[in-house]
Every structure is written in structure tokens, then in C-alpha cells.
């Protein structure tokens, strides 16, 4: 058997004590062990942003971030964005603006945009465009995503919808 190490992750507010192999990525652990399959892996090389999750509020690529490095840290995934079934303003704006088509990039896009808006609640269009440059989307041509993030900023992205 391969060597195992203990890690303790707080994921979407809930603590998980796990015994994992050192080679396991954060995306692997979230998807396969915690069944948080909203985390999507595409390029598997930190280019596309699909696997973006937040570790202590900073966006990281789950495909290349070792789960062991998230030990004792707070992890947020797309599953944690809605509170008590109420969508975040950003999630609602994505629906209102059809800021997704196939939806495969959407979890990563939402997490990057969530971090962006937490850092800069009132971004300019250029700041949104540059903030999302590390997230690829092949369906939408990006325009509705940029609009959605700006719209969410206008209503306060971190607040759940009334």
C-alpha cells in the first residue's frame, strides 16, 4: 500500500479528518473522497481554471494543489456558495445573464469571481475581464459572464439573494 498521511480540512464550513495519499490533489480529495463533484477538472495543468476552489479565500487550482497543503485550512467549493438553498447574488446573476451553457467551467468561474468580488466589491469592467483571464470558457464567448459578474457586484455579491 502507498503511504498515507492525515489531513484535516474544513470544507464549506464542515470539518473532515481524512487519511490520504500524499500525491492526492485537492480536486481528487474533494471529488472522490468527499463527493463534491461540482469541482470539475479539465486541463489538469492549471491553465483553464475549471477546478478553481478557494483555500482561505484565495483561489487555487484544485487539479495541481496538493490536498496535504490544505491541511487545517478552510476550503470553499461551488457547493458552498448557496446558503440554506438561497443562491448567492453571483449565482443568480449567472442564471439571469445565461453566463453558462454547458456548465463545465461554471463552478471554477463562480469561485474565481467570488474571490474577485470579495477582494474588490465594486470592480470595473476591465478588472473583471482581467480577474477572469485565468478561467477558460469555450461556450459563451465570455460576454455574458462579464456582465453577470458586474451585475452581481451591483447588488452585492457576497449577500444571499433576498
Amino acid at each position: 500500500m502507498h503511504e498515507r498521511i492525515p489531513v484535516s480540512l474544513v470544507v464549506n464550513g464542515r470539518r473532515h479528518d481524512l487519511s490520504i495519499e500524499p500525491r492526492e490533489t485537492l480536486a481528487d480529495v474533494l471529488r472522490e473522497r468527499l463527493r463534491l463533484t461540482g469541482v470539475k477538472v479539465s486541463c489538469d495543468a492549471q491553465v483553464c481554471g475549471a477546478c478553481t476552489v478557494l483555500v482561505d479565500s484565495l483561489p487555487v487550482s484544485g487539479c495541481t494543489f496538493l490536498a496535504a497543503d490544505a491541511d487545517a485550512r478552510h476550503v470553499r467549493t461551488v457547493e458552498g456558495l448557496a446558503v440554506d438553498g438561497v443562491l448567492s447574488a453571483l449565482q443568480q446573476a449567472f442564471i439571469d445573464h445565461a453566463a453558462f451553457q454547458c456548465g463545465f467551467c461554471t463552478p471554477g468561474m463562480l469561485m474565481t469571481a467570488t474571490a474577485l468580488l470579495e477582494d474588490q466589491p465594486d470592480p470595473t469592467r476591465d478588472e473583471v475581464i482581467h480577474g477572469l483571464e485565468g478561467n477558460l470558457c469555450r461556450c459563451t464567448g465570455y460576454a455574458p459572464i462579464v456582465e453577470a459578474v458586474l451585475a452581481a457586484a451591483a447588488v452585492g455579491a457576497s449577500e444571499p439573494q433576498a
Partner: protein
């Protein structure tokens, strides 16, 4: 968004931008894709791939891999004597795992099933394969040389799903298929010409980059096969699986969950036969989830070399077009024979052309297989056709828009004999594009504008069915074999069902793409779903309503008065009964349902082919950086002529997405082969557009009710991609005086063209010019 609506009024919720029905699932992470499918006992597969472009397999040693802890099965072709290994819906030439030889670097040779993917990866490194390398070819020109190695020693069997009937003699063993389109007296056309424009144009090998790589999960139970797949066409996959494993169609169940991007690249069969074969040998359910690097090696778009001559009179009328197209399909046919057929049909463009002669050869090479990809031959050939219209306009001193106006097909005019007449007002579409781009305002220095047009014979074959069930509470379940690939079919088709039954959208459930649960649809591609599945659902709804009116007469008003159908139910005298009340009354209890059937085939309105013309009409304004050769598309206009926008938001989204994808292929995307291997087969090196490449957008939806589909709808979703490369090339010519004929228009290519221009201008100034051919007829750099 600007909407031009002249169609008749439509019932709610048609024409309304209702929120996408997959929205909540997709923004909360609960949308299930194939890679998320879990079944008890699931094992994981990885694939050993050929490092050689062309090689004979002398032997395979899998002993150490089989002994590796955690490995369940190691499978090569010799382990599958009970499986028909060679599949292909068009040409049966594709082994699900290499048999005796490999035809491209990246071809699957051995599959390993293990308890987890990492263990399977470890086992791959313990396999040794003894290859005898063979000479290889990596371009159509090389493949067609006299001494080229033969890639398929025996031609593959032609299969019924090829998609077209005629064929012409193949002139070389490396030609997979040939297609021809011709009418009129081509020699006379060129003899009479005042101007002939000639050129060779190249369109790159492109990768669709559906962000979800190809994935399948297969499980066997009691001789029945169930496969979950990321594929667009569940029924096509079912047919190939039944053939590979010798099963009745009814014993193969193919289920498609949400698909993470398709764009045609997930049309037809990919990893499903291999996954099913691995599950068969493993005796366990198996997931095969490819990486992006493997997906690139699984399917790409057909690269093209297009030689075109166009004859004009001095007023800019097209007299004739003569073309030769070479598509590079890589190691296997996949769907390229149909791409070639369509490329031949689409090279002429949506213009009145008295004489045309086009031949298209689909050529095998030792590269990754090519197949369907958004636009399907149209982007490849539209670059040539639309470039030459602007070249002709320049040389005749005409406005390129005016030249197009003089040639464009009129409403209902047939582009060629026996084709459906043009179901669009193209002249009006050109006017809209011109208005939105500000055609008659001079561009700033260093910028150029262009308008470009295409029309594709889209829709594929109308073989489509639907079942619409009206349940005992009057809510409706619609069963259809069309796949939600992100285009919004789950929303649009539900809107059609709600409108046809006169009920609230919230009371409609759509079940899609499970061959054991829903009825047949040929495919989800060729922009057909709204139009053809829409018609099938409309027919199923009509069938259900007819039965419900009969039942109401029988059960609620056997002695009159008359039963009058209305939205959501019937009126009998002063009493209104909803659909559910009729169901309950007829069955005489609290339960039951009515089953409405919708069938669509080549008959009636869908007799003529193509079912509809898919229009592409775009305008761009570009700037050219003279120092670096970088092109920026500053402004982009799409005119979506789609008959009726069932949902304007999803329709507009398709146009924008398609146009930006086209922008990527025009300016940056190209798979590059050298020495037998793909040099940039990953997302680091193959660069797709990012947020920072977004131009200023203007979108127009045109709804004239002129399509064959429900409420006059016709297809969209590919059209806006097709003319983009041509529009950019033409705009660059107007901005910088250089004619680009090879996409992508990378900074290096543009910079070299700028240097050539400057050298030519300098030579003209010093009077040493005169040796060069006139603009538009010099051969391309390569070739």
C-alpha cells in the same frame, strides 16, 4: 441585442427569454456529467497509446502489468476475440483498440483497468510494446504522393449512417472519400470572364476543446450493456456498440448526462466501445475518463487546403467557381466523408452561380482523427469563397457589400438544382450587418471592416421522434433523444411543449438522451434540434390533443355538446376541463396518461433537403499592429437569421459563442505536427480565446418566420462561426493592404505579410517591380 421580428405572433412562452432550466443545477455544482457517474464496484481505466505515427505492432508484453497489485484487467486486441473490433458509422475503418498496426501517435494500444486511475497509470508503465516503425505522412499533399505509405491497406466498409449516397472514384489508396458538386458550363464561364481570382487557402487543424474530455462509464448485466457517455448522439453510439458486441439494439442502453461542451466534437462514437470492452473483460463497471491531452488525440477538426478560382464579369457578377478541396481526416474516417460532402456543397457560397465545379478529397494521414466540428466544412471553405469576393471587389473597384448584393441568392432561389430554395432574406441580413458595423463610415487609420456571409445545408437527415405523455394531473413529460450539450435544448424544447399543450412551463418535464427511455433521434448536431425535434414534439403534442379530445367526447360529453379544444384543455358547453381531468375521466379513476407520438421523416415540409439553410452573417472591425503583426478584432457583429427565436437569450448566446470560437481559430488556434508527433497537444501550447480577447459585440436576431420548423424557426449555433475567418482576412486587407490566405492569422504570419508588402511597395517606388504576379494569384508560401 437588436431583434427584427416580422413573423406572426407566437403563443407563450415561445419567444420569451425564460431562464435556462439547467441553471440551478449548473450554478450549484449538482449538474451531473459523465465523469460524476458512480456505480457500485466502479473500476478505472487508462490507455497506453502509440508513440509512433505509423508502425506495425510486433508484440505486446503485459505480464508485469497484469501482476501489478490493484490491476483488474489488461486488454489488447488479442484479448477480444469475441468483439467486432472495427467500428465506424460512415466507414468501418476504426479499431476500438489497435489491431496489428497503429496509424497515428496517440492511438490506443492497450487498456488497463484497476481499482483506481493512479494504479492503472502505474501499470501502463509496466507494459512493453515492440513496434516496427513505418514511413508516415502528415499532410494531405504527402499522403497523395506516388510513393506515400498506404495507411489503410483495405478500404473500410461503407456504412449506412454515412449521411449521403453518391460517391466518386477514389484516385489514391490514401483517399478516404471523394465528393463532387457541379452544374452549368464551367469552361464557358471562365472563357467569358472579365476577371478571374485564384488562390490557395489553408484552414488549420483545430481542437474543439470541449472542457469535459471524452468520458464513458460502461457496465454489463445479464448480457445487457449500459453506457453513460459524454457523447452528443446516444443513438449513433448505441448502433456502433450493438454492432461491436453483437447485441440487439434493445440490449444496449446509452445514457447521456449533462455534456461539458460538444461543438460537434462529441458527435458519433469515441471511447464507448473501448470502455465497454474493458468492462466486459474486467467483469466490473469501468470508467474511462480521458485527459485533455488524450482528447486532443481522439478527435480534431479537419484541416483544409482549398484551391479556388472565381470568374466574374466587370460588374462583379459571379460567372463560375471552380474548386479543389483537400481535407485531412487523419488516421480514420470518423465523420469526415460527410464533412467533405458538405465542404463541396458550401464552397460556392449563398450566391447565384451559373456554373460550378468542386471536388473534395478526404485524405488519410498519420495524424489524430478528424471529424465533425462546429461549422462542418463551412469555415474551411468560406475563408476561400468570401476572400475572393473581396479580392474581386477590390480589383473591379466595387464596394464588397455591393458586390455581394449583386450575387446573393434571392428568397426561395435554389443554389443548385434539387436543393431547397433559400429560406432567408440574405440581402436584408447584409444590410443589418452593414448598419451595425457602420459600413459607410470610414474606419480609423490602421483599422479595417468587412462583412462576410455563408449559408450551410444544415439539419442533417430528418429522422426524429418524440413521445409526449400527458399525466393524470395534466402535467407533461416529454421524451426525446436530443442531448443538452449546453446549447439550451432542455429549455427550448420544454418551451415548445408548454406552448403546444397550452400549459405552464413549470408543468413540463423533459427527459433527454437515454436510449432505453426515450425514442429515437438521429443526432444532436448540424443545428437541427430546435427545428427538427421541435417539429417532432409539436406532432406528439397534436397527437396527444387529438386523443384527449376524443376521450373528452367519449367520457365527458357522449351526447354532446361539442368538445372544443383550447389552450390547456377543452371546453364543453360552459364547462372547462383541463387535460388531466380528461385523462382521469377516460380511465375512470384517479390515474392514467395519454401518450402522444411525434414522427418526423423526409416527407411533407421536411421532404426537401436540406431541411433548412443555416445562415452565417458577421461583420468585424479589426486593427493591425504594424510592429508586431498582432491582429485585434475590435468590434464584432453577428446577424442571426433563425426564423423564430424560441428563446432569444439562448439564441443570442449561441451566436456569440460561435463567433468567438471562430475568432480563436482565425487568429491563434492550430494543432502543429512535426516528425510524427503533435507538438502542441495541451492547453499550455494550444491557446484558446480568453476574456481579454473579447471584442465589442453587437448582436442581431432576425425572425421572419421563414424556417421549416415550429413557428417558422430554423437552426442557429454554427452559422456565426463560419464566416469569421474570412471576415477577419478581408478586414485585415482593408486595414493593412495584405491578403492573408492561411489561417490562423498569427502575429508571425501577419508580420511576414507586412514585410512582403513593404518590400513590394519599396520595389514599386524604385521601379524594380514587375516580376511579381498580380495580387490575388500568387501561390501561398507552402504547398
Amino acid at each position: 441585442m437588436r431583434r427584427i421580428v416580422t413573423r406572426p405572433d407566437v403563443p407563450s412562452p415561445i419567444g420569451e427569454a425564460v431562464p435556462r432550466r439547467d441553471g440551478i443545477a449548473k450554478v450549484t455544482g449538482t449538474a451531473r456529467f459523465t465523469v460524476d457517474v458512480d456505480v457500485p464496484g466502479l473500476a478505472h481505466a487508462r490507455v497506453l497509446r502509440s508513440p509512433y505515427a505509423h508502425a506495425r505492432i510486433r508484440s505486446i508484453d503485459v505480464g508485469a502489468a497484469r501482476r501489478h497489485p490493484g490491476v483488474i484487467a489488461v486488454v489488447s486486441a488479442e484479448d477480444l476475440p469475441d468483439v467486432r473490433l472495427v467500428y465506424g458509422h460512415a466507414v468501418a475503418d476504426h479499431p476500438l483498440i489497435a489491431v496489428d498496426k497503429v496509424r497515428f501517435a496517440g492511438e490506443p494500444v492497450v487498456g488497463v483497468v484497476a481499482e483506481d486511475a493512479a494504479t492503472a497509470d502505474e501499470a501502463l508503465r509496466l507494459i512493453s510494446v515492440d513496434y516496427e516503425p513505418l514511413p508516415f505522412v502528415q499532410s494531405a499533399a504527402e499522403a497523395l504522393s506516388a510513393d506515400a505509405p498506404i495507411i489503410h491497406e483495405r478500404p473500410g466498409e461503407q456504412r449506412p449512417h454515412r449521411g449521403f449516397e453518391e460517391d466518386i472514384e477514389r484516385g489514391h489508396p490514401n483517399i478516404c472519400s471523394s465528393s463532387r458538386q457541379a452544374w452549368g458550363d464551367i469552361d464557358a464561364a471562365f472563357a467569358d470572364a472579365d476577371l478571374v481570382v485564384e488562390g490557395e487557402y489553408r484552414y488549420p487543424m483545430c481542437y474543439a476543446y470541449a472542457m469535459e474530455p471524452y468520458t464513458a462509464v460502461a457496465t454489463w448485466s445479464d448480457g445487457e450493456l449500459t453506457v453513460w457517455t459524454s457523447g452528443q448522439h446516444p443513438y449513433m453510439v448505441r448502433d456502433d456498440l450493438a454492432n461491436c458486441f453483437g447485441l440487439p439494439l434493445a440490449k444496449v442502453r446509452v445514457i447521456v448526462p449533462y455534456v461539458g461542451g460538444g461543438y460537434g466534437s462529441k458527435s458519433y462514437t469515441k471511447v464507448e466501445p473501448l470502455t465497454a470492452a474493458l468492462a466486459l473483460r474486467a467483469g466490473r463497471p469501468v470508467r474511462l475518463a480521458l485527459s485533455v491531452e488524450e482528447a486532443i488525440l481522439t478527435t480534431r477538426g479537419d484541416s483544409a487546403v482549398v484551391r479556388l478560382r472565381s470568374a466574374f464579369d466587370r460588374d462583379g457578377h459571379i460567372l463560375g467557381r471552380q474548386g479543389r478541396i483537400f481535407l485531412d481526416t487523419g488516421g480514420y474516417a470518423e465523420n469526415s466523408p460527410l464533412v467533405g460532402r458538405k465542404a463541396a456543397n458550401r464552397l460556392g457560397g449563398p450566391y447565384r452561380i451559373p456554373a460550378l465545379e468542386v471536388t473534395c478529397d478526404v485524405v488519410y494521414t498519420n495524424t489524430a482523427p478528424a471529424s465533425s466540428f462546429r461549422g462542418f466544412g463551412a469555415p474551411q471553405v468560406t475563408l476561400a469563397g468570401e476572400s475572393q469576393l473581396d479580392e474581386a471587389a477590390g480589383r473591379l473597384g466595387l464596394d464588397p457589400l455591393e458586390l455581394r448584393r449583386r450575387n446573393v441568392l434571392a428568397f426561395r432561389e435554389r443554389p443548385w438544382p434539387r436543393a431547397r430554395g433559400m429560406d432567408a432574406d440574405l440581402d436584408a441580413d447584409l444590410t443589418l450587418a452593414a448598419e451595425e458595423i457602420g459600413w459607410h463610415e470610414r474606419a480609423r487609420a490602421g483599422r479595417g471592416k468587412a462583412i462576410s456571409l455563408s449559408a450551410s445545408d444544415a439539419g442533417s437527415e430528418p429522422i426524429t421522434t418524440s413521445i409526449l405523455r400527458v399525466l393524470s394531473d395534466g402535467s407533461v413529460t416529454v421524451m426525446c433523444g436530443s442531448t443538452e450539450i449546453g446549447q439550451g435544448s432542455s429549455t427550448v424544447l420544454a418551451q415548445i411543449a408548454a406552448a403546444e399543450m397550452g400549459i405552464e412551463l413549470e408543468r413540463v418535464r423533459l427527459v433527454q438522451s437515454d436510449t432505453a427511455a426515450v425514442s429515437y433521434d438521429r443526432s444532436t448536431g448540424a443545428s437541427r434540434t430546435t427545428t427538427l425535434m421541435g417539429l417532432a414534439i409539436q406532432a406528439a403534442a397534436a397527437d396527444a390533443r387529438t386523443q384527449l379530445v376524443e376521450w373528452a367526447t367519449t367520457s365527458l360529453a357522449p351526447n354532446g355538446p361539442d368538445v372544443i379544444a383550447q389552450a390547456g384543455g377543452v371546453r364543453i358547453g360552459d364547462a372547462v376541463h383541463d387535460w388531466g381531468a380528461i385523462v382521469r375521466a377516460w380511465f375512470g379513476g384517479a390515474a392514467g396518461e395519454v401518450v402522444g407520438r411525434g414522427y418526423l421523416r423526409r416527407s411533407g415540409a421536411t421532404e426537401e433537403m436540406p431541411p433548412f439553410w443555416e445562415i452565417g452573417c458577421v461583420a468585424v472591425e479589426v486593427s493591425v499592429n504594424e510592429a508586431t503583426g498582432e491582429i485585434a478584432v475590435e468590434r464584432l457583429v453577428t446577424v442571426g437569421d433563425i426564423g423564430c427565436a424560441i428563446n432569444p437569450q439562448t439564441a443570442e448566446a449561441q451566436d456569440v459563442g460561435a463567433a468567438i470560437m471562430g475568432l480563436g481559430m482565425a487568429t491563434r488556434e492550430e494543432l502543429l505536427y512535426r516528425d510524427g508527433n503533435l507538438m502542441n497537444g495541451n492547453l499550455f501550447d494550444y491557446r484558446v480565446p480568453r476574456t481579454t480577447n473579447l471584442p465589442e459585440l453587437r448582436t442581431v436576431l432576425v425572425e421572419r418566420g421563414d424556417g421549416v420548423g415550429v413557428y417558422g424557426a430554423k437552426g442557429g449555433g454554427e452559422g456565426a462561426l463560419n464566416p469569421v475567418a474570412a471576415a477577419i482576412a478581408n478586414a485585415v486587407e482593408r486595414a493593412a493592404g495584405i491578403r492573408l490566405r492561411e489561417a490562423p492569422f498569427t502575429p508571425e504570419r501577419v508580420w511576414r505579410a507586412l514585410q512582403d508588402r513593404d518590400a513590394r511597395l519599396a520595389a514599386e517606388r524604385t521601379g524594380t517591380a514587375g516580376t511579381g504576379a498580380p495580387a490575388g494569384v500568387e501561390p501561398a508560401d507552402r504547398g
